[in-house]
């Protein structure tokens, strides 16, 4: 068991290192920040000085090693556009908004998705089942940027129940979390429904019924427990979808999170911030997958013996 954990953590670290290299190379390709920073009126001497200050005159491998060394000590450079604030500080300040939004969305989608999936499976072809299948289909098809705008139009502009954008109170969470969560809700509903249907036809459920257990215990304890394993398998993917979706949803709702920061810094070619924010997002990504892997080993005893 310890061996599996060490291997997984090692793999995650290698992935992180490779990712830092990719991010470094990609952000070096996004264009010349010097020309962008100084504008057209700059003299050659100004350009040369800034190039030197930013360390851009060094060969690429040196630049990468410097970047890596600085990153390990928590120094990601200063933002080029936002008044030379430290990039890491800028990103960390935006992190709570994104994480709280993802958490709210995830908790709601998991709860509602499981409920919907189970009800759809035990009342097959009923109104609940049809509704669940419709949600699954629409949720996996609707583009989130458009869903956000439509929800904003209906609930904020037309009905005036919720604010269009902003951050701080619980009302602000409703629309972005719904937009962010619908895809995952659809996926969980679908997963739980199909694995519940499979479980309900299995031998151990027959046995549980023969033993005379109440229907509620059979469904909510025995069948559901086994149906949740695929949900856990995809938990990393769901978290990834949430972080990725954050770029679009945060842009639509002007949410002050790292998704919008990523978008803005990429468009303004703010190298240090781009590197930091993408690295933070991919680290979250890798950490989530690692957590899921480890959780899996804990939850499913069959996984413990495998390498």
């Amino acid at each position: 068991m310890l061996k599996i954990i060490v291997t997984r953590v090692g793999e995650a670290l290698v992935a992180l290192l490779l990712m830092s290299l990719v991010i470094f190379l990609l952000s070096r390709l996004t264009g010349d920040p010097v020309a962008l920073l100084l504008g057209d009126g700059a003299t050659e001497a100004d350009k040369a000085k800034l190039t030197q200050d930013l360390g851009l005159d060094q060969p690429l491998p040196i630049q990468y090693l410097t970047f890596l060394g600085d990153a390990l000590t928590g120094d990601f450079g200063t933002s080029v556009t936002a008044g030379s604030q430290p990039a890491l500080q800028l990103v960390l300040a935006r992190l709570p908004a994104s994480l709280s939004l993802a958490a709210v969305a995830l908790v709601f989608t998991v709860t509602i998705g499981i409920l919907f999936g189970v009800l759809a499976a035990i009342r097959r072809n009923s109104a609940v089942d049809i509704a669940a299948r419709l949600i699954a289909l629409v949720g996996q098809s609707v583009p989130s940027f458009w869903l956000g705008i439509v929800l904003m139009y209906i609930f904020a502009v037309q009905l005036g129940w919720l604010p269009t954008s902003g951050y701080g109170q619980w009302q602000h969470y409703v629309l972005p979390a719904a937009t962010l969560g619908l895809f995952t809700l659809a996926a969980i509903t679908r997963l739980v429904r199909s694995s519940m249907l499979e479980a309900l036809g299995s031998e151990y459920i027959k046995l549980a019924r023969i033993k005379g257990l109440s229907e509620a215990v059979v469904i909510w304890k025995h069948a559901l427990a086994n149906s949740l394993i695929p949900v856990i398998t995809f938990m990393g993917t769901f978290f990834a979808v949430m972080i990725t979706g954050a770029v679009i949803v945060e842009t639509v709702f002007s949410w002050p999170g790292i998704g919008r920061l990523a978008y803005e810094s990429i468009l303004s070619r703010d190298f240090p911030v781009v590197q930091t924010v993408v690295l933070v997002i991919t680290s979250l990504f890798i950490l989530a997958n690692l957590a899921v892997d480890l959780l899996y080993v804990l939850v499913d005893p069959r996984m413990r013996s495998r390498g």
């Binding site: 940027f145 458009w146 904003m152 996926a187 979706g245 993408v278």
Partner: protein, 301 residues
């Protein structure tokens, strides 16, 4: 005196009756989805001959005309016009062509790269496998939109770039599937036989491996069409996709966003076009996946 039609069936009628049987075997949602999909392809292919107006130029006297069923609308512009007086129906039709072109190109490019990498990794094994799969894992663990956004910002918005960007993001799924399927069959007798008879590795892969793993790859391709459409629309919405004035559905939504309170149709019509197309694609894709390879059910997450 054998009935002439059964003795020598006319080929066209056989195809037609085959299509008829297929149609009858579908349930209603699938029939609607298939019809929508066929409509999408027809509109995309024959778009330039179907558009009632030029999708790129509008008349400023007809700005922000509402759809025909709204007050103030007219059937001259069934879905209304945008802020430059361009006919929305014409732009939707032209947008379908963009969507379909991107889909076909991306699936061809991503499919070719992914299949090549995956079969090579599965067939040769060892170090080739380890290195290539590390690369695939890396590509799979990078947040899709973020990678596309970065690449899009690097390359600048252009039609060719968006195809390359989306292909770079999606090839890894084919690679993983192709590797798994190749591993299953690479030690089959007929592959061994081909090897001992002196056929080159490339020829073995081409003649014996590829035809056998094709169904699984076709399933991935169908399940990916919806993803490609949404990704293209999302990138165009964020301004790093198909550059204006080309009427990508995503950039149409972006254009209409600031008019949502006064002219809702600018946003709602192109968005509905995306939703309906992707829903149809997903329904048909799921059904196809079920028929070709039931084991893949539920993979479409």
């Amino acid at each position: 005196m054998v009935d002439a039609t059964t003795a020598s069936p006319w080929r066209g009628s056989r195809i037609l009756s085959g299509a008829g049987n297929l149609w009858r075997s579908l349930d209603w949602p699938l029939r609607i989805a298939s019809a929508l999909l066929i409509l999408f392809v027809i509109v995309a292919v024959f778009g330039p001959w179907l558009t009632p107006y030029d999708p790129l130029t509008g008349s400023l006297r007809a700005r922000l005309v509402p759809p025909a069923w709204q007050e103030g609308g007219s059937w001259a512009h069934p879905f209304g016009t945008d802020r430059l007086g361009r006919d929305i129906l014409s732009r939707i039709i032209a947008g379908a062509r963009i969507s379909l072109t991107v889909c076909v190109m991306v699936i061809a490019i991503a499919g070719a790269i992914g299949t090549a990498v995956g079969t090579a990794a599965g067939y040769f094994g060892g170090w080739t496998d380890r290195v290539l799969m590390r690369l695939v894992d890396l590509a799979l663990s990078f947040p899709v939109i973020l990678l596309a956004l970065l690449l899009g910002a690097i390359s600048g918005p252009s039609f060719a770039n968006i195809i390359i960007v989306i292909s770079l993001v999606l090839w890894s799924q084919y690679a993983r599937m192709a590797r798994g399927e190749t591993l299953k069959i690479r030690n089959e007798d007929y592959v061994d036989l081909a090897r001992t008879s002196g056929l080159s590795d490339v020829k073995i892969i081409w003649r014996h491996i590829l035809p056998n793993i094709a169904p699984a790859l076709i399933v991935i391709a169908t399940l990916q069409i919806g993803v490609v459409i949404v990704l293209e629309a999302s990138l165009s919405f964020l301004g790093v996709g198909v550059p204006p004035p080309a009427p990508s559905w995503g950039s149409m939504v972006a254009d209409g966003r600031s008019y949502i309170a006064s002219a809702w149709w600018l946003c709602i019509v192109p968005g509905s076009a995306i939703l309906l197309t992707v829903m149809a694609v997903n329904l048909v894709g799921d059904a196809l996946a079920d028929r070709i390879n039931p084991a893949l059910r539920g993979r479409n997450i």
